[in-house]
């Protein structure tokens, strides 16, 4: 079952643009947050929720639903925007991001928003949680798939590689890691902090299928995700998605400053204006 399938690529692009506007507005209203890594993951999330995941917004606790874990929890504004677009949460909640009593916590918190599959925010742990879910699926002979999104900076955490070894050793072909390779982390370009490349080769060495794609190009994103979802090999899949940090807002693109700084009201206005112009 796939809810709200969007067939048209143009429509998905339009949706992505709307999500970007939501993200910028949300973080602007919160006065804090992480626009860079939220904007880089938009197409990946849009493709998941509107093309790939077997899910049903009317039944968020459907036991056979596919699981999605946002291990790079700071990128959660994009997830909230997608969840609102898919009908899981009320769009009116979006401006409450990071505010007292809001279910939209600064990082994913399933106590406050139980439709989230996992609470994240301490980097490096999502793949392990995903393994637990993928293992449970195998034990119960269920065919739900577990997707985990990690960042390229996040992959510096050693636990990812403990998890990578385990997942291939246990032939978890129902597990897919999507690596949002936006090439920057908080302090600087990832290359300048601790190089993580070559990424697909690393995953292959750990016994995974690995594919390199352009993470903003639906013609590459959708087939990669679908193929991972239908994976009949005995290996888990890693999709290394090359992305642009701050994608869609010219003054944020590839600028390390926008990893974790909220746009001021005039910057929100400029960003929204630019994004709105794209589909005017």
């Amino acid at each position: 079952m796939t809810a709200q399938r969007i067939e048209s690529i143009d429509e998905l692009k339009r949706l992505s643009n709307r999500l970007r506007i939501d993200i910028v507005r949300m973080i602007g209203a919160a006065g804090s947050g992480h626009p860079g890594g939220s904007l880089s993951e938009v197409e990946l999330l849009a493709a998941l929720y509107f093309r790939v995941l077997h899910h049903d917004p009317a039944r968020p606790d459907w036991p056979d639903r596919d699981r999605f874990i946002l291990s790079k929890g700071h990128g959660v504004p994009a997830l909230y925007a997608v969840l609102a677009a898919a009908g899981y949460i009320d769009a009116a909640l979006l401006p409450t991001l990071r505010k007292l009593d809001s279910p939209l916590q600064g990082h994913p918190d399933r106590r406050m928003l139980p439709i989230l599959e996992a609470s994240t925010g301490s980097l490096g742990q999502g793949i392990s949680i995903g393994i637990g879910m993928a293992l449970a699926a195998k034990l119960d002979n269920k065919d739900f798939h577990t997707f985990v999104m990690v960042g390229d900076g996040e992959i510096q955490e050693g636990q990812n590689w403990e998890a990578a070894m385990f997942a291939s050793a246990h032939k978890l072909n129902n597990l897919t890691v999507i690596l949002d390779n936006n090439k920057q982390q908080l302090d600087d370009w990832t290359e300048k902090i601790v190089r993580v490349e070559p990424l697909s080769e690393k995953f292959r060495a750990f016994g995974w299928n690995a594919v390199d794609i352009d993470g903003h190009n639906f013609a590459q994103v959708i087939p990669a995700l679908e193929q991972a979802r239908a994976n009949m090999s005995e290996r888990p899949t890693a999709i290394i998605a090359s992305t642009v940090k701050g994608k869609g807002v010219s003054f944020m693109e590839n600028n390390v400053k926008w990893h974790g700084v909220a746009p001021k009201p005039e910057e929100v206005e400029a960003a929204v204006k630019e994004l709105e112009a794209k589909f005017a």
């Binding site: 036991p63 699981r67 918190d109 399933r110 106590r111 599959e117 996992a118 609470s119 994240t120 925010g121 301490s122 490096g124 742990q125 793949i127 392990s128 949680i129 995903g130 393994i131 637990g132 879910m133 993928a134 293992l135 449970a136 699926a137 034990l139 050693g158 636990q159 403990e162 998890a163 070894m165 385990f166 050793a169 246990h170």
Partner: protein, 321 residues
């Protein structure tokens, strides 16, 4: 059950870690959701007892404790009942962020059992000896923290832990544990087990120290001091009622634990007493240091955890009344 021990004989049964393995295997027979994880120490934690009977529901993650705790979290989120075991020091210390993020914070139904707690593991030395696990585990909101004293209480508490919904940590020990209870004894998480009705001093102990506390109780009795012993097998939630009653009836407390004095049973009992009925308290535990390699007996003596130290502390605290 209230027992008055006039003379406590340290008759050794099986180690609490071994009883844990037996309890797991028993639970596995009735609960198909039970999944056991270990980090290459299954023969030492005795989760191997379960693995032998249920190989399909046992996973060794290799030497990767952080990953193990995360997987346990994921299994719990997918409706399984995971029990993850390793040495207490590796489980709690290496897996701490994961215990926080994947178990405590989302409050999932996952159970964690750390063996080789304390210094009574002996010769392997301080790198393997967990002396801070109580402090770490008790600091996690929503966690239930257990330290059974013997094989009977271990088996009973493992079963209760499986029935309790929410994250739990249990410390088990490597050394053979003195037999304190019988299969007829019942235990309840959060309720201390009372031994004796002495009104001069209350000795609150957990784990291996309960045996020493009972020895100390017998010794004190010979010297005319009537002590009661509380087996505080549940460090969290603490049995405040039993502590308040002990404080009001005895007017003096000694705590005894195989743990650093900071943040363990003593700290928790002191806070509890301070909130109900402040009385003088003396603390038996490890004082701001790591231990070393030696026989368990030598270490329990050198680091001040054996029965005579509890006797000494009791006499001191009675004088402070």
């Amino acid at each position: 059950m209230t027992t008055i021990s006039t003379k406590f004989e340290m008759k050794m049964g099986v180690a609490t870690r071994e009883a844990y393995g037996q309890a797991l295997a028993e639970l596995g027979r009735t609960n198909p959701s039970l999944i056991v994880l270990d980090a290459d120490l299954a023969k030492s934690t005795f989760s191997a007892t379960f693995a032998k009977e249920f190989p399909d529901r046992f996973f060794s993650v290799g030497i990767a404790e952080a990953n193990m705790v995360g997987i346990a979290g994921g299994l719990a989120l997918a409706g399984k009942l995971p029990f993850a075991s390793s040495f207490a020091v590796f489980l709690c210390d290496k897996g701490y962020d994961q215990l926080r993020m994947c178990a405590a914070y989302p409050h999932v139904n996952a159970k964690f059992v750390g063996s080789h707690g304390g210094i009574s593991i002996g010769e392997d030395g301080p790198s393997q000896q967990s002396v801070e696990d109580f402090a770490l585990a008790c600091a996690l909101p929503g966690f239930t923290v257990l330290c059974p004293a013997d094989e009977f209480s271990t088996r009973a508490l493992v079963k209760q832990m499986a029935e309790l919904v929410g994250p739990c940590y249990m410390r088990t020990g490597r050394a053979k544990a003195p037999i304190i209870y019988s299969a007829a004894d019942t235990f309840q998480i959060g309720r201390a087990k009372l031994h004796g009705i002495g009104r001069d001093v209350a000795i609150v102990a957990c784990g291996f120290e309960v045996g020493y506390a009972l020895q100390a109780q017998a010794q004190l009795q010979e010297e005319g001091i009537a002590a009661r012993v509380l087996d505080m097998h549940t460090l969290k939630p603490l049995d405040h009622e039993a502590i308040a009653l002990a404080a009001s009836e005895c007017g003096a407390i000694v705590t005894a634990e195989e743990h650093l004095l900071d943040g363990g049973l003593g700290s928790r009992v002191a806070r509890s007493a301070a909130m109900s009925r402040p009385v003088p308290i003396e603390f038996v535990g490890i004082n701001n240091t790591y231990s070393e390699s030696a026989t368990p007996e030598q270490l329990m003596e050198k680091y001040g955890l054996a029965a005579p130290y509890i006797v000494e502390a009791a006499k001191k605290v009675v004088k402070r009344k």
